[in-house]
Chain length 198, copies 2
Amino acid sequence: MEKEFVFGHQNPDTDAIGTAIAYSYLQNKLGYNTEAVALGEPNDETAYALKKFGFDAPQVVSTVADKVKAVMLVDHNEPQQSSADIDQVKVTHVVDHHRIMNFNTADPLYYRAEPKGCTSTIVWKMFNENHVEIPANIAGIMASAIISDTLLLKSPTTTPEDKTALEALAKIAGIDYQEYGLAMLKAGTNIASKSEEE
Amino acid sequence: MEKEFVFGHQNPDTDAIGTAIAYSYLQNKLGYNTEAVALGEPNDETAYALKKFGFDAPQVVSTVADKVKAVMLVDHNEPQQSSADIDQVKVTHVVDHHRIMNFNTADPLYYRAEPKGCTSTIVWKMFNENHVEIPANIAGIMASAIISDTLLLKSPTTTPEDKTALEALAKIAGIDYQEYGLAMLKAGTNIASKSEEE
Ligand SMILES: [Mn+2]
Ligand SMILES: [Mn+2]
Ligand SMILES: [Mn+2]
Ligand SMILES: [Mn+2]
C-alpha cells in the first residue's frame, strides 16, 4: 500500500502535531501505510510534550504532492490552512473539530468531525471503537493535545468528553495531568527566555 | 430540547428515507429530539419497504426553516440536493457516503462520512459504537436501504462492510435478504403497472 502523509494545519500547535502522530499510529494499526509529518516546526509547548513522551519532531514539509499521492488531515480542513499544494493530492481521511469551509472533494472519503474541544478526543474514541490499544507514549501526546486545546479543560470549547478522554489517556500515560499540564503550558509561554529578552 | 428534522436528498431513494428513519431513531435514543422527514414522496421501491416493515411514509416538506432551527442530513451534503432553504437553518449532524461539495458551516458539527455503498452501513456502525440495540423494523428498513444502494451487493460501490451490515441487519429483521431484496427491487421497477401501461 502506498504511503500517505498525515498532518495538521500550518503553524502547527500541539493538537496538529500530537494528533497527527496518534492518528497515524491508529491508521497503521488498521492497515494503512502512513507517516505523520508537519507543516512547520513544533512550538515550545509542543517540543516540551514531544520530548516528555520520547518522540522526535515529525518531518517538516511545505509541499506534499512531490512525495505522496494521498493524505489524511487532522485538526483542519480548510485548504488555506493546509499544505500549499493540497489541491494536487487526494484527501482520503479527515478528523477534525472545526467548522467545514471550502473543503471539496472529487470522491467519497472518510470524514469524522465532532464539536469537541480537541481532535485527540475524537481520535481517542476511534481507538476505542476499533478496539486498538493505546501505547503509553501515544496516550501522553494525545493528553498533551487535549491539555493544549482546552487549556487544561478550562476553555469554553471544553466538553465532558474531553475530560473523560484526558482522564483515560493520563492514566494510560502514567501522568498527573494537572501537574504535567501546568508544566507543559508554562513551557509554551516560555516565560524564562522571554524575561531574559525583555 | 428543540426538535430537529432528519432528512435525505431531494427525489428521495430508499437510502434517503430509510436511513433518515433509522438515524432519527438512533439520535432519539442518544438524547436528541428528532423527526425523520422527506423532501419528496417515497418511490415505489421505498413504499414497498416502508409497508413491509410497518412504517408510514415520513412527512414530506419542501422547506424546513419555517418549522425547525436545526437539521441533520443523511445521504447527501450538497446544498443543491437539500431543502431549498437549507442555508437558513443550522446543520448539526451529517451522515453520508458521497463526496463533499459546497458544504460550508459557520460552526463545528458532527460529520460522519465513509466511502461505503450505503449510508445505512455507516449508521449500523454507529448503533454498534453507541451500544444502542436495533429494533427489528429499523433493521429491516436499513437492510432495504443497503439492498437498494448496492443492488443486492452487486454494484461496484459495494464494500465488504456493506455485506457484513446487511447480513447482521437481515438477521435482526428476520428476513432472507436475497428473497426480500429481489421482491423489493422488483417493486421498484414496477414491472406489472408498466406492462399494463404499455
Ligand atoms: Mn490546532
Ligand atoms: Mn485543535
Ligand atoms: Mn441516495
Ligand atoms: Mn445512498
